[in-house]
Chain length 227, copies 2
């Protein structure tokens, strides 16, 4: 599991910002893993009780999720998990196709042995999925893979924006799988092959190849999804 952008447990007591980031990532993961499917109504009081805080700080989390396009709040109605229009989904994918090239060409930090070992571990998880297929485990793996590859660039703004775009549409693929519109086993096969190819290119230091492989994978993945 990749630590994401949540600050790890530090020595001192948890500050307000730590709680905020933790709860934000938590709810975001629930949305991306479809525990809160599109249209689900999120109750501020219930979530506040669950996290042991008041509505005030929780509303700040929901406000950020709204900025990120994951929920929408309507006065007097409620806070609902957003659905994604077909056109916007296509726009996000077209943009992500371009950004992955930048992730391996802009301010790149060459991978070291430790990094390669981490990617090998991810490959092992991909291989393991073949014998024990699980849509959620696949989704989690894809997220970790994405965050790991994002470390290749040292460009902070590029990292931030790529993350936002990724989490904006990550749940759609999972939704299509659960609706049986995508063959899970086939996707896992393709994915494992892609991870293997990426690892190979990383070992050779050919980051440009990594970018173009990811680009084509995103393109094909999108094509299979809307099929």
């Amino acid at each position: 599991m990749v630590d994401d952008d949540v600050t790890e447990t530090r020595d001192g007591p948890l500050t307000a910002r730590d709680r905020f980031d933790r709860i934000h990532a938590d709810i975001r993961n629930r949305i991306c893993l479809l525990e809160y499917p599109p249209g689900e109504k999120l109750s501020e009081v219930e979530l506040a009780e669950e996290f042991g805080i008041s509505r005030t700080p929780l509303r700040r989390v929901l406000a950020r999720l709204e900025d990120e396009g994951l929920v929408t709040s309507v006065h007097g109605v409620g806070t609902m998990v957003t659905d994604i229009e077909m056109e916007e989904l296509a726009q996000v994918y077209r943009l992500r196709k371009e950004l992955v090239l930048l992730q391996t060409s802009l301010d790149v930090a060459p991978p070291d042995a430790v990094y390669l070992a981490r990617v090998e571990a991810l490959l092992a998880r991909a291989e393991a999925l073949k014998t024990a297929p699980s849509a959620k485990a696949f989704s989690t793996l894809d997220r970790d893979m994405f965050l790991t590859l994002l470390e290749l660039t040292a460009n902070t703004p590029l990292r931030t924006m790529s993350k936002r775009l990724y989490f904006r549409t990550a749940r759609i693929w999972l939704q299509q799988v659960t609706a049986s519109k995508i063959d899970l086993m086939q996707e896992i096969e393709v994915y494992a092959r892609e991870v293997r190819d990426i690892l190979e290119a990383l070992k050779l230091g050919d980051l440009d190849a990594v970018g173009h492989m990811r680009r084509s994978h995103i393109s094909l993945s999108f094509a299979r999804m809307i099929k």
Copy 2:
């Protein structure tokens, strides 16, 4: 003046979201125009009084500004306008250089006569600056030019991210000018020439040329800034 992302005055009464966007854009402009220079302490109570609201909704605005990297809030200390590290500034510019190419190649909407007339008006403002140089007016013109050219792409996520990046660093250039590290007249001359070239390319329908001209302008502008 370009309307920006603030919803215009609609028929009904102002909703909460309208107030929020209005105040957000207002404070953001003050920061970008250096009315609140880096390091300035923003008082929540004072701002709340000025806008005639309570601290609660104002804090939501400040939270968003903090997400966008324009301010930082520290518990018990205050909310200060951020300064920009040299390294981060360079990262933003490197990324923006790539994004401007996408703005004229991804989901582009060909400009019509009305659009061309608006760019002509912008060119007129640039020419007018030659006889009445003003750093703030120049800064405002650059913002309007940026937002106008951003309309060339219909890709909403690309628009959103480009905006965030632009407003993240827009004040730095103005800061360098007021510190007399940049020659204002020379910048205005260069800028007017660039707008003229862009307008020419737009009339010819050569959007690719527009992108590359903007890219080189950003590159040169950054080089002059850090000189």
